[in-house]
Amino acid sequence: MVLFVLRRLGLMVLTLWIVSLIVFFAGQVLPGDPGRAILGNLASAQSVQVLDHQLGVDRPLLVRYFSWLGGAVHGDFGTSYAYRSAVGPLVRSALFNSLKLALLAFIIVVPLGILGGVIAALFHGKWLDRVISVAGLTLATVPEFVSGIVVIVIFGVELKLLPVSAAAPAGASAATQLRDLILPAIPLVFVLFGYIARMARAGTVEALDADYTRTAMLKGLPRATVIRRHVLRNSLLPTITVIATQTGYLIGGLVVVEDLFNYRGIGNLIFHAAQTKDFPMLQAGVLIIGIVYAVATLIADMLLMWLNPRLRAEGGSS
């Protein structure tokens, strides 16, 4: 078990290092220099040079990479071009906001998705199964800006039930914050429902076919008991992995939703950094998303290991 954890940690660090390479060198493709981009065409060549020196972008590429990476490891992501202040604290508060929204979406979608998938599996091959599967897949691929606008028009503009902007002032009560986040969470729930239902369905179909299920049925156990005690226990394990891999998406895919609802999360931060060509901010945001994804998958692997004694035995021996 300890060996498995160490190996997984090692691989995670390696993956994150490659992410850092992608993130850093993508920023270097940009022609022209940041000083000119910030000061505009009218600035003198000398002041551009001074600013470039201040930002440290006149140093050789590898020196810049290692100083950026060294800073990032310590939580220092440099200075934002657009805000002229440290990137770290801005990214941290945005990440915290996004996590709140993501958590709400998860609390709604996980039970719904599992329920949908299990129902589809119990009606395997019937029309209800096809409807749930195709609807899930479709909801998962209809862009959030389409479902988000539909939600805004119905609940915000026509019915005026809920606020269409999630820009609650800092320190607003938990109830206000929650009310603001319900509408933005809906498009995320739509996208995630399909994946979770799909995995839950696949796992349940497999477990329903398994010998132990047949044995339990033949023993004469009631169908409901068989499903609860034998099928679901085995079928829901793979679903955990999907939920974890979706965390990365949730944090990153928030771009559209946070923009639509004017919510100050990490997606919005990255979007504005991209619009203003604020590379330190963009790089920090993307790197953070990579880290969140890596940590989430690591936790999922551990959880899976802990819940499944067979994997635990294999992991321990290798």
Partner: protein, 289 residues
Amino acid sequence: MTAEVAVSVPVAAGPAAATRWRLLRRRPAFGIGSAIVLFWVVCAILGHQIAPQDPLAQSLLKVNIGPSGAHWFGTDDLGRDVLSRVIVGARDLLLVTALATVLGTVLGTVLGLAMGWFGGVFDLLVSRVVEAVLALPSVIVAFLFVVAIGPSDLTLIVVIGLVFTPIIARTVRAAVLSERHLDYLAAARLQGEKSPWIMFREILPNVLPSILVEFTVRLGYAIFTVATLSFLGFGVQPPTPDWGADISKEYINLPAGYWWQTLFPALAIASIVIAINLITDSIEQVMAA
């Protein structure tokens, strides 16, 4: 953006390709999906010929007119015909998604075959890069590169193609690994056949069904990604008609009651996404049968 889950589809060794094709054509969902996709492909190819009006022609006298006989889908805030923009808007979206998915599938197949066949250190190293790319949502990776290189159809095709490559490679690798121990490969090796021959002439035909399923699944995601990027202003650039970009420009007029400007492009996106999912679902059903 895209959430990436590689759900590998179990492909039964059962019926031959011809039988599968016959089974596929009999499914109503496949028929409906294909008809809708075909409709949009025709719009993409003939766009300007079949559009009732010039999608770029502005008219100050005809702004924000609701649907009528003269303008079936109404006009936008610059007086442009929404129906014509929806028809012509299929062009860039379909072109970019199709080419990007083909690029990603070809590169991913080559990479996946090599990973599965050679294994060892090569597989280990490439797997890490695959993991790294999977850790980042496609829309976000596209941001990085579109901001650095500048938005254009070519940038979109290359970036989305490259983002999809590792995902497809992972699926192909898994399919190759399940073939690796089979007798026909041992036989091919004993005959002294070279690696490229074995990979492309022996393994590829056998993993082709999995690749086909993956291709249609990715096509759906490509539309999602391109439409989202266009909506955010990083995809197809105005004034070129595009569903995502048009929605982003017009949806602020919704509270004023100009619903047609947003509804019709949104329906267009929804229709093609649903159509592709109907096709994907049918293919998966037939493959698993």
